[in-house]
C-alpha cells in the first residue's frame, strides 16, 4: 500500500497559498517530510489525515480515495498532530481506552491488552493512572504516539513530534518511532534534519507549498558530493560573502561564523572542502529555490 499525492493545492481564505500542486509518492516505511516553519507541512499532513479539505488534486492510499472516502482512511489511520491537548482530569489509561473504543476495538479484553502494551511501550505504564494534566511535554508526546498506534494503523502521520522536547525525550521518541513496522506508511514531518537522518529511508523537502526534493537521504547527499565548501569568517565579513557566494548555511562557532557555500568547484583557496550532510542538502535546496536576495 502506498500513498499517492497528486497535484494537491490549497489556498486559505486569507489568501495564503499553502500547497501549490504537491505531488508525492510515499512507499511503506518511514518517510520524512522536511521543511521550515510555514512550509505547508502541517496543511499537507492534515489533508492526508482527513481533517482538511483540498482545493484540487487527489490523494489515494492503496485504492482508497482519501479526499472522498474519509471514513475508510480513518479506519487505518494513526495521527499525531503537531499540537494537541488532552483532557487534563483524565488518566492516560482511561483516555487511551476511550480512544481505543473510538478506533473500533470492541472487545474489552483486547482493548485492555493493547492499551497496556502501548503504555508499556511508551514507558508510561507506571504513571498510567495519573491525570494527563500532570504530564510533562515528552510524556504527553509519547501518549500521543500511543494513541496513534491504536488499532493496527496502515498509515501513520506524525506532525513535528520532537519540537520542544529535551534531548532525552527526543531520543526516547525516536526509539519509539524506529520500532514501528515497515509494512505501513509512516510520514514524519519535521523541521529538524536529524530526525530524518536518524529515522527515514525516504524523504522530501518542502517549502512554500512546493516539493523541492524527493528521494532517499543517502542518494540526495550524494548529489552534493564535492559541491559544499566551508569557510570560517568574522561576523563582519558575512554580508560580503553572502553577496558573492551561494551561502547555504551560516552558524556561529566560537565567536566566528562557519559558512557553507554551494559551488561546483572550489570558489577560492580560503574555502575547504566539506563532505555534504543532509543538512546541507536541506539548506541548499531551500536557498537555491529562493529568489536571489541582494
Amino acid at each position: 500500500m502506498e500513498l499517492r499525492i497528486e497535484n494537491l493545492t490549497k489556498t486559505y481564505s486569507n489568501g495564503v497559498q499553502a500547497l501549490k500542486g504537491v505531488s508525492l509518492t510515499i512507499p511503506p516505511g518511514m518517510f520524512g517530510l522536511l521543511g521550515p516553519n510555514g512550509a505547508g507541512k502541517s496543511t499537507l499532513m492534515r489533508t492526508i489525515s482527513t481533517l482538511q479539505e483540498a482545493d484540487s488534486g487527489s490523494i489515494t492510499l492503496g485504492d482508497i480515495d482519501v479526499l472522498k472516502d474519509k471514513t475508510e482512511v480513518r479506519k487505518v489511520l494513526g495521527y499525531l498532530p503537531q499540537e494537541f491537548g488532552v483532557y487534563p482530569k483524565m488518566s492516560a489509561e482511561v483516555m487511551l481506552d476511550h480512544f481505543a473504543v473510538l478506533k473500533g476495538i470492541s472487545n474489552r479484553k483486547e482493548r485492555k491488552d493493547v492499551v497496556d502494551a502501548l503504555l508499556r511501550q511508551t514507558n508510561l505504564y507506571d504513571v498510567r493512572s495519573k491525570n494527563l494534566g500532570t504530564y510533562s511535554g515528552g510524556m504527553k508526546q509519547r501518549f500521543g504516539i500511543a494513541q496513534a498506534l491504536l488499532g493496527n494503523p496502515k498509515l501513520i502521520i506524525v506532525d513535528e513530534p520532537t519540537a520542544g522536547l529535551d534531548p532525552a525525550e527526543r531520543n526516547r521518541f525516536h526509539n519509539l518511532l524506529s520500532e514501528i513496522g515497515e509494512n505501513m506508511v509512516v510520514i514524519l514531518s519535521t523541521h529538524i534534519v536529524d530526525d530524518v537522518v536518524d529515522l527515514c529511508n525516504q524523504m522530501a523537502i518542502i517549502n512554500k507549498g512546493e516539493v523541492l526534493l524527493h528521494g532517499e537521504p543517502l542518494k540526495l547527499i550524494d548529489t552534493l558530493q564535492g559541491k559544499v565548501w566551508k569557510k570560517i569568517v568574522d561576523k563582519t565579513d558575512v554580508a560580503a560573502h553572502k553577496a558573492m557566494f551561494t551561502v547555504i548555511s551560516s552558524r556561529m562557532y566560537m565567536g566566528k561564523v562557519v559558512l557553507h557555500v554551494y559551488a561546483d568547484a572550489q570558489p577560492d583557496g580560503s574555502f575547504e572542502s566539506q563532505p555534504p550532510s543532509l543538512e546541507d542538502v536541506y539548506f541548499a535546496s531551500i536557498v537555491r529555490h529562493q529568489p536571489a536576495k541582494v
Binding site: 479506519k75 494537541f84 476511550h98 473510538l102 514507558n123 531520543n171 526516547r172 526509539n175
Partner: protein, 1100 residues
C-alpha cells in the same frame, strides 16, 4: 503609570470590533423598544409592565425601559469589565506584563477604570437609541411629550452607571482572582437570582422595603418609589433620588467598592493564581535513573532499528452499527459526566434550587395567604422559577460541549478517529438532553421535599411525572437541539451564547410583534394548562401534535447541525457548507426526509385544525370585527326593542365532545310605549344555528352570520304590551383545536358557561370597541361617557344586559352519566335517560336574565341555615375549605337578613369550576367559584397576617344576592356603587364580625394598594361615588371608605345618601372579578372562546 494603562485600555477597547458590536446591539434594541412603544404598527401591540398610558418619553417610562435593558446590560458589563485582567491570562501575556515595572494600583486601577469608561460609553447607546427613536418620523406624536434631556440622562446616571460600577467590580474581581471568565457567568446568574428573590418578595406588602433594597440593579427600588404614581406624576416627575432608592444605590455602590478592594488586596503579580494550585499541578517526573539510562543509550542505532520491532497484541476492529451504538452511548456518558461534574454546573443548579425554596414559601399567595402546596402549584413553580436556570444551563453547556474538544485541544486526535460525525454530534446532544432529565429529577425531589416541609403529604407522583417529563422535558429537549445548532452555526462560543440570549428575549416579544400563530414560534404549543378538576383536559392532544410538529422540525435542525458540525480544521462557513454537501449521505437524507414528513404532515394537520376547522382570529381581527359591528349596526342603537321576560330551555351538555345543544323558547315583550316592527337578535358568531325564529309571522331581513346579527321584520308590529315567542335550537360545538388550544367553557370535567351563550335582543354599545386609543386608531369618534345619573331617560334600561328586566326561568339540563348538571333554580326532578343524567330546575321568583350552567363530577356537602339549603359542589380532592365556605354563607345570611332585607331564595349553592378562570360569580342562588381562589387556600387561623379569603370571597358573593340580585342600578353612572361597593362593604362587615376589626387592617391595606395601583394608570379624572363609572379600581375602595366611616361618625359624611341614587333597579352582573365579560356582554361569548391566560390574579 495609571494613566498609561488607562489610556492603553481605552485605545485597545475602542479598536476592538466587539465594543462596537455591543454598542450597536444595544442601540438597536433601545431604538426598537421605543419605536414599538411609540408607534402604531398594524398588528403590533407592544407594552411593558404596568406602563398604563404614560407618555412614552416620560421619565417614568424611560427609567422603566432603561432598567429593563440594564438587565441585559449586565451580560455586556461582565464581558467588558470582567475581561481586562483576565485577558492577560487568556493570551498568556501576564508573564510579560507582571515583569514590567507596573504598580498594582496602576495596573488594576487603570484596567478597571478604562473598561468601566468603555462600558459606560457602550451603554450610552441605550438612552441614545431611545432618543433617536423618539425623534424619528415613525412615532405617533401624541404618545410623546416634549423631550427633556434629563428624562434620558437621569435613569442612565441613576441606574446604569452605578450598576456598571457595582457589577463591574464583581466581575472584574472574580475574573482577576480566579483567572477565569466562567465565574462571571455564574455571577450574572446570582445577580439575577437576587432580582428574582426581590420580585417574589414584592408579592407580600410587608416585604416591599427589603425587596427594594436587595435588588442590586435598583429596579425594585424604582418600582417601589413610583408604585402609586398617578399618570400626571409619571409624565412629569423625575425619579426622586431619596428614600429607599437612594439607600439602595448607596448600598450597592458601596458593595462594589468593597469588592474592588478585595481584588486590590488579594491580587498577586504571580505566574500561578495561587500557591495551592502550584502544588497540585506538580508534573509527574520520570524516575531520574530512568532518564539517565535513556540518555546513555544515545541515539537510535542502526542495530536497534533492525532488531526492535513494535509488537502489539492483535486486535479486531469493529465497525458494525451495533458497536456504533455502543460508541455513542459511551461518548454520551462521557459528555454527560463532563457537564454534571463541572463545578459551575453545580453552582448554577444549586442557585436555582435555592431560589426554588425561597419562592416555595410564596405559593399562590392571595392577600398574603398561601395556598396548599398542591402538586400542580409546585410543578408550576418548578417550571417557572427554575426554567431560566435550565435555559442558562442549556445555553452555557451547549457551548461547552461543542467546544469541549477544541477547548482542551483533543479535537484533532478525536476528529481523525474512524467514527461517523453523527456519533460526535449525537453524543453531545444526548448528553445535554440527559442533563435536562437529571435536572427534572432533582426538581421533582425538591418539589416533594417542599411539599413535605410545608406539611403536605399528598404527593401526586403521577402528576409530577406528567408535568415534568411529559410536558416540560420536550420543550427543553427542543431547546437543546436549537442551542447546539446555534453554537455549530455561529462557531464562536461567546457569540453563540449571546445569540441565544437574544433569541430568548425576542421570543417573549414575538406575540406583541404580531407573530401569533404557534406554528411560527419554535417549540411553542397551545398551552398545557392543568386543573385538578379537569387534568390537562383537551389541551393534551394539541400539545402533543404541536410537539410532534416541532420535533419534526428539530430533526431537520439536527441534520443540519450534524452536516455543519466542525470536524478537522475546516471552520469557515463556506468550507463547512461544501463539506456538508458531501456529508449529506443516505442516512442523513433519510433522517431529513423523516423529519420533513413529520413536520409537514403534523403542520398540515395543525393548520387544518386552527385555520380550517376553526376560525383563526388574530387579535387584530377581533378588534376589526368590533369596529365593523359599530359601523354597521350602531344606527339601530336607539330603536325600541322588546325585552326578554321568560326563558325556558333544554340544555344538553356533552362534556366528552365539548359540545352544547340549547333549544327552547324566550318570550319577548314590548315594554315600550310605541309599536315595534322588527326584532334584532344577536348571537355569538361561533354558534351553529339550527333554528332561530319568531313564533309570529315574520321575515328574516338580515342574516349576518359573521357578526351574528339577525333582524326579523314582523308582519304585524308588536303593540305596547304585546309579547312574541323566540324559538331557538342552537349548538356550540368544538371542532378540533384552535391556536389557543380551544375554549375552556365546555370541558371534560368542569363545564361552566353562562347566558352569553343565548340570544341578545337589540344593538348594544357593549359590543363596541372601548379603548380610547383603539377607537382613534380605527377612526371611530371618542365614546361618550356613561349616561348621566340625572338623565331619567336611561332609567328604563341598564348598563349590562339591557335586553331584559326580570325574567321567569326554567331549564332542563342534561349531561353525561357520572356528572351533575346545575342551573339556577330549584331541582324539580332528576332522572336518567339513554345513559345521560337529566336535571330539571325551576325558579319560582323572578330573576335577572343572567344564569349559568355547570356540569362536573362533584362531591356535595349539604347544610342548612334556617330553611335555606346550603350546598357546596366541590371536586373530590378539594374538601379543605368547604366548611369555611358554609360558615361564611351562614354568617352572611345572618348579617344580611338582619341588616338588609329577607333572602329572596331558599337555597345557596357554591359550585367549583376549573381554574381556567379565577373568580367567583354570583348568579341567582348559584355561585360558581373557581378552584383557584379558595378551595385550596391554606388559611392559618393562628396567624394574624393570614387572611381568610375563602370566607371573604364567599361573603362577597352571597352579598351580591342582595346587591345586584335584589337592588340594581340603571344604565347610568353610579350603579357600580350599589353592586360592587355595597357587596364589598357587606363582606367587610361580615368579616369584621367574624374576625374582629384588628384583623381587617391587613386586608384593608391590600384594598388600598389595589386602589392606588389602579389609579396609577388611570388617564381620566376620578368621579365621586355617586357618578362612578368604569373605573373598577374605585369600586372596592369605596367600600373601604364606607367601612372606615363608621369610626368617624362625627365628621360630615362625604358619601351621598344612598336613596339619592335614582334608578328603579333593572339589571346588573355581579362578580368579584369584573372581567370584560361584564362590560362586553355581547362579545363575552367570543371572549370566552379567547386565549386561556396562563397567569391569573384575583382581580385585575
Amino acid at each position: 503609570m495609571f494613566w498609561e494603562i488607562f489610556r492603553f485600555e481605552l485605545r485597545y477597547r475602542i479598536l476592538r470590533p466587539a465594543t462596537w458590536i455591543y454598542f450597536l446591539v444595544f442601540f438597536v434594541l433601545a431604538f426598537l423598544f421605543m419605536l414599538l412603544l411609540g408607534s402604531d404598527i398594524e398588528g403590533v401591540n407592544f407594552s411593558i409592565g404596568e406602563s398604563g398610558k404614560a407618555l412614552v418619553n416620560s421619565p417614568y417610562m424611560i427609567t422603566g425601559l432603561t432598567t429593563g435593558l440594564g438587565l441585559l446590560g449586565v451580560l455586556i458589563i461582565s464581558a467588558i469589565v470582567g475581561n481586562p485582567v483576565y485577558r492577560d491570562f487568556e493570551h498568556n501575556t501576564h508573564a510579560l506584563m507582571f515583569t514590567k515595572p507596573v504598580t498594582k494600583a496602576g495596573y488594576l486601577g487603570g484596567r478597571f477604570l478604562g473598561s468601566v469608561v468603555i462600558a459606560i460609553l457602550v451603554l450610552v447607546s441605550i438612552p441614545l437609541g431611545f432618543y433617536v427613536a423618539a425623534i424619528s418620523p415613525w412615532v405617533e406624536a401624541d404618545k410623546f411629550g416634549p423631550n427633556s434631556f434629563l428624562a434620558y440622562a437621569q435613569p442612565f446616571l441613576l441606574f446604569i452607571v452605578p450598576n456598571i460600577i457595582f457589577t463591574g467590580a464583581i466581575f472584574f474581581t472574580t475574573a482577576s482572582l480566579t483567572r477565569s471568565m466562567i465565574p462571571n457567568y455564574v455571577g450574572c446568574i446570582l445577580i439575577w437570582v437576587l432580582l428574582r428573590v426581590a420580585t417574589s418578595l414584592v408579592a407580600d406588602l410587608d416585604n416591599q422595603t427589603v425587596a427594594a433594597l436587595i435588588d442590586p440593579l435598583g429596579r425594585a427600588a424604582y418600582t417601589d418609589a413610583t408604585r402609586y404614581w398617578t399618570l400626571q406624576e409619571k409624565n412629569h416627575l423625575l425619579i426622586p433620588l431619596s428614600g429607599l432608592l437612594l439607600t439602595n444605590r448607596l448600598i450597592w455602590i458601596g458593595v462594589g467598592i468593597l469588592v474592588w478592594a478585595v481584588a486590590f488586596f488579594r491580587f498577586k503579580f504571580s505566574y500561578q493564581a495561587s500557591d495551592k494550585k502550584n502544588r497540585k499541578q506538580v508534573p509527574v517526573q520520570q524516575q531520574a535513573g530512568d532518564v539517565q539510562e535513556e540518555l546513555a543509550a544515545g541515539p537510535a542505532t542502526e542495530a536497534k532499528k533492525e532488531t526492535a520491532r513494535l509488537t502489539l497484541p492483535k486486535v479486531v476492529l469493529d465497525f458494525s452499527s451495533r458497536f456504533r451504538v455502543k460508541q455513542l452511548l459511551r461518548m454520551t456518558r462521557q459528555e454527560f459526566l463532563s457537564v454534571v461534574r463541572n463545578v459551575y454546573f453545580l453552582v448554577i443548579a444549586g442557585a436555582g434550587v435555592g431560589l426554588l425554596f425561597v419562592s416555595a414559601g410564596q405559593i399562590g399567595k392571595i392577600y398574603d395567604t398561601a395556598t396548599l402546596p398542591v402538586t400542580y402549584q409546585i410543578t408550576d413553580i418548578l417550571g417557572g422559577t427554575f426554567g431560566l436556570f435550565m435555559f442558562v444551563i442549556i445555553i452555557f453547556y451547549s457551548g461547552e460541549l461543542i467546544w469541549r474538544e477544541r477547548g482542551s485541544g483533543v479535537n484533532l486526535l478525536i476528529d481523525a478517529m474512524p467514527v461517523p460525525g453523527s456519533v460526535f454530534y449525537l453524543s453531545k446532544l444526548f448528553a445535554l438532553m440527559l442533563v435536562q432529565v437529571l435536572l427534572l429529577v432533582v426538581l421533582m425531589l425538591c418539589g416533594i421535599l417542599v411539599q413535605a416541609m410545608l406539611g403536605y403529604f399528598n404527593f401526586e407522583i403521577g402528576l409530577y411525572l406528567k408535568a415534568l417529563f411529559g410536558v416540560n422535558l420536550i420543550d427543553w429537549w427542543l431547546m437543546c437541539v436549537l442551542a447546539i445548532l446555534v453554537h455549530v452555526l455561529v462557531n464562536n462560543k461567546y457569540l453563540g451564547h449571546f445569540v441565544l440570549v437574544i433569541y430568548y428575549t425576542f421570543s417573549f416579544f414575538m406575540p406583541q410583534l404580531g407573530i401569533e400563530h404557534k406554528m411560527f414560534k419554535f417549540a411553542s404549543d397551545t398551552g398545557m394548562f392543568y386543573s385538578d378538576m379537569n387534568g390537562y383536559g383537551h389541551f393534551a392532544w394539541p400539545f402533543f401534535i404541536f410537539k410532534v410538529y416541532w420535533s419534526g422540525f428539530a430533526i431537520l435542525l439536527a441534520v443540519l447541525s450534524n452536516l455543519l458540525f466542525v470536524r478537522g480544521t475546516e471552520s469557515g462557513f463556506g468550507g463547512r457548507w461544501k463539506q456538508a454537501r458531501k456529508r449529506f449521505s443516505r442516512p442523513a437524507k433519510l433522517a431529513a426526509t423523516c423529519g420533513f414528513v413529520i413536520f409537514a404532515g403534523s403542520g398540515a394537520y395543525i393548520f387544518y385544525n386552527t385555520n380550517v376547522l376553526n376560525d383563526y382570529g388574530a387579535s387584530g381581527e377581533t378588534e376589526q370585527a368590533m369596529v365593523e359591528y359599530e359601523k354597521k349596526f350602531s344606527k339601530y342603537k336607539n330603536i325600541p326593542q322588546p325585552k326578554i321576560v321568560d326563558v325556558k330551555l333544554d340544555v344538553d351538555i356533552f362534556p366528552e365532545e365539548r359540545d352544547v345543544n340549547i333549544s327552547g323558547t324566550m318570550w319577548l315583550k314590548n315594554k315600550s310605549k310605541t309599536p315595534i316592527d322588527s326584532v334584532h337578535v344577536q348571537l355569538s358568531p361561533d354558534v351553529k344555528i339550527k333554528y332561530l325564529r319568531l313564533a309570529e309571522p315574520a321575515k328574516q331581513v338580515l342574516d349576518d352570520r359573521k357578526q351574528g346579527y339577525f333582524i326579523y321584520d314582523l308582519d304585524k308590529p308588536m303593540q305596547p304590551g304585546d309579547s312574541v315567542q323566540l324559538r331557538l335550537d342552537i349548538a356550540y360545538e368544538s371542532n378540533g383545536f384552535t391556536n389557543e388550544g380551544g375554549a375552556t367553557q365546555v370541558v371534560y370535567n368542569g363545564t361552566f358557561f353562562n347566558s352569553n351563550y343565548l340570544p341578545f335582543i337589540g344593538y348594544t354599545e357593549l359590543g363596541e370597541l372601548s379603548g380610547e386609543e383603539d377607537r382613534k386608531k380605527h377612526g371611530l369618534p371618542a365614546k361618550e361617557r356613561m349616561k348621566s345619573v340625572y338623565d331619567s331617560v336611561n332609567y328604563m334600561t341598564n348598563a349590562l344586559t339591557p335586553d331584559a328586566d326580570w325574567i321567569r326561568f326554567e331549564a332542563t339540563v342534561s349531561t353525561s352519566s357520572g356528572q351533575v348538571a346545575i342551573a339556577p333554580g330549584y331541582l324539580q326532578k332528576e332522572w336518567t335517560e339513554n345513559g345521560r343524567n337529566y336535571f330539571h330546575y325551576k325558579m319560582d321568583t323572578p330573576i335577572l336574565n343572567f344564569y349559568s350552567f355547570l356540569s362536573a363530577r362533584y362531591e356535595i356537602k349539604r347544610d342548612k341555615w334556617k330553611d335555606v339549603n346550603i350546598e357546596i359542589y366541590h371536586h373530590k380532592g378539594h374538601p379543605y375549605n368547604v366548611d369555611r365556605m358554609i360558615r361564611a354563607i351562614k354568617k352572611s345570611l345572618d348579617y344580611y337578613t338582619e341588616n338588609f332585607t329577607p333572602y329572596q331564595f331558599r337555597q345557596v349553592r357554591i359550585i367549583e369550576f376549573p381554574r381556567y378562570a379565577s373568580f367567583a360569580q354570583s348568579f341567582p342562588n348559584t355561585i360558581p367559584y373557581s378552584e383557584s381562589i379558595g378551595f385550596i387556600a391554606d388559611v392559618d387561623e393562628n396567624d394574624p397576617e393570614s387572611i381568610d379569603y375563602p370566607f371573604y370571597v364567599t361573603a362577597h358573593e352571597v352579598a351580591h344576592q342582595w346587591w345586584a340580585h335584589q337592588v340594581i342600578g340603571a344604565n347610568v353612572q353610579g350603579s357600580a356603587l350599589m353592586i360592587e361597593s355595597m357587596a364589598q362593604y357587606s363582606a367587610l362587615m361580615v368579616m369584621e364580625k367574624e374576625y374582629g376589626p384588628e384583623k381587617m387592617r391587613k386586608f384593608l391595606k391590600y384594598e388600598m394598594n389595589q386602589y392606588l395601583r389602579g389609579r396609577s394608570s388611570e388617564r381620566r379624572n376620578e368621579l365621586p361615588m355617586i357618578t362612578m363609572e368604569g373605573q373598577q379600581y374605585i369600586h372596592y375602595i369605596c367600600a373601604e371608605r364606607l367601612y372606615r366611616r363608621r369610626f368617624t361618625q362625627r365628621r360630615p359624611a362625604r358619601l351621598p345618601r344612598q336613596n339619592g341614587i335614582p334608578g328603579s333597579a333593572v339589571h346588573a352582573v355581579a362578580g368579584i372579578c369584573e372581567i370584560p365579560a361584564q362590560r362586553n356582554a355581547r362579545l363575552a361569548a367570543v371572549c370566552d372562546h379567547g386565549p386561556v391566560r396562563k397567569h391569573y390574579a384575583l382581580r385585575e
